[in-house]
């Protein structure tokens, strides 16, 4: 009989595999290109990648 342990392990394994593949196929990580630790006080504008952001063509 399957338990929650199986489902949790399956979920985490699939996600870990997908994120590993994504890491390989995406632009390389570069800590020297990283934004400021805190957005507050950084002077940088937010990326706008949020579910409430209404996309505009501008």
């Amino acid at each position: 009989m399957l338990t929650r342990k199986f489902m949790a392990a399956l979920t985490l394994t699939i996600l870990a595999a997908l994120f590993w593949l994504d890491l390989i196929n995406s632009n390389k990580l570069d800590p020297f290109r990283a934004p400021a630790v805190l957005a507050l006080g950084s002077g940088q504008t937010g990326a706008g990648a949020h579910c409430a952001a209404l996309p505009t063509e501008d």
Partner: protein, 372 residues
């Protein structure tokens, strides 16, 4: 012999817990070193969300169900308390730092209202909202684990069609700001709490210490999310991004989508998910819930035996959770929690529509055989 073997389970449990904490810290430090400290902090915040939501049993779908079925308002009021605490700091903070910080401000429209209503139905069918589905999947709930990939696909598809839906009729964005906006927001939260208390069944009006603690800690983490990332806590964008990345990996061309072809989203598609704000907190929520489930030894429960229609219903509801939450400009987190706490009118409309949908969802859940 028995004296020697007796402490073994405790030692084993302690070792497991130490390992969990060690792996979580290692992940935060590794990400900080590889990508930047901001991303490590966001993963830590996400883990915190997962630990609180699962560890202190703070949810959204369950408390709404409790209010509807048993007139028990405690969980709903805890949500309102958390939202109010965030609003007290977030609304002035966003006002004063408008270039660095954005609120969860979105327009009210026909598709937005319909989307929130459908989301309310579906969150009761699977008994998991945006954050709830992540938490439940992380703690081994089979229904949520099945719903999650379809949630992501639905979110991708909803975003793909978003501009067509908003073209059906959308009002300008209305956000309550300044001291007046904060007063309106807090008064609205107090009015809803008062109504819930008025309708409450006898003996259900007190909030437990657990819920008070959860509300305060959740508010603190939501504010940390805002300060670190410059945007409020969200869930759905990240899930849609995961599916969009999957689609492009299989050769899909997203240039036909007005949404996914925008520069912001093209950048997100090219960069790793570990540099995307909502993806990181989503991963953290799943991980945090898993840690709590292992910590409590809560993974030994057997998976439920459900009829086929329950599993089919879960897949459809999962897809609709994602699709509808894109049209609604967020789920219970991005629209309800973060929308209201940053002054957006759409958060209030979302709440009313999703709560109305929840009445229908509770009936459908029963008909699908998901009650077990």
């Amino acid at each position: 012999m028995s004296d020697i073997t007796a402490p073994a389970p405790r030692l084993s449990g302690g070792l497991t817990r130490a390992t969990l904490i060690g792996v979580a810290l290692l992940a935060i430090l590794s990400l900080s070193a590889a990508a930047g400290l901001r991303y490590g902090l966001l993963l830590a915040i996400g883990l915190g969300f997962g630990l609180i939501l699962e560890g202190l049993r703070f949810g959204f779908a369950g408390p709404w169900r409790a209010m509807i079925l048993r007139r028990d308002p405690a969980g709903l009021i805890a949500q309102l308390v958390a939202i109010g605490l965030v609003a007290i700091i977030a609304i002035p903070l966003i006002n004063a730092n408008g270039t660095e910080m954005i609120g969860a401000h979105a327009p009210v429209g026909w598709a937005m209202i319909g989307g929130a209503f459908v989301f309310g139905i579906c969150m009761q069918i699977v008994l998991g909202c945006g954050s709830g589905t992540l938490v439940n999947a992380g703690s081994g709930n089979a229904v949520s684990a099945l719903a999650l990939p379809f949630f992501a696909i639905g979110s991708f598809a909803g975003a793909y069609h978003l501009l067509w839906w908003t073209g059906l009729g959308t009002a300008p964005v209305i956000a309550f700001s300044g001291a007046q906006g904060l007063v309106i927001t807090l008064a609205g939260l107090a009015a809803v709490a008062g109504l819930a208390l008025f309708l409450a069944a006898p003996g259900t009006r007190r909030l437990s210490r657990r819920l008070w603690l959860a509300a305060v800690l959740l508010a603190a983490l939501a504010l940390a999310n805002l300060v670190v990332s410059g945007q409020p806590w969200g869930v759905v964008y990240g899930l849609g991004l995961w599916a969009a990345k999957g689609a492009t990996a299989f050769g899909a061309d997203l240039s036909g989508s007005a949404f996914w072809s925008l520069p912001t989203n093209q950048t997100r598609l090219a960069e790793s998910v570990v540099t995307d704000v909502t993806s990181l907190t989503n991963i953290g929520i799943i991980g945090g819930a898993f840690i709590v489930a292992v910590w409590r030894s809560g993974l030994s429960a057997r998976l439920p035996k459900l009829p086929a229609r329950a599993w089919v219903g879960t897949i459809i509801a999962g897809f609709l959770l994602g699709y509808s939450s894109r049209l609604a400009f967020g789920c219970n987190v991005g629209a309800f929690f973060s929308g209201i706490s940053t002054g957006s009118l759409h958060g209030w409309i979302w709440f009313a529509a999703a709560f109305a949908g929840s009445f229908q969802g509770i009936r459908i859940r029963r008909a699908l055989g998901l009650e077990g």
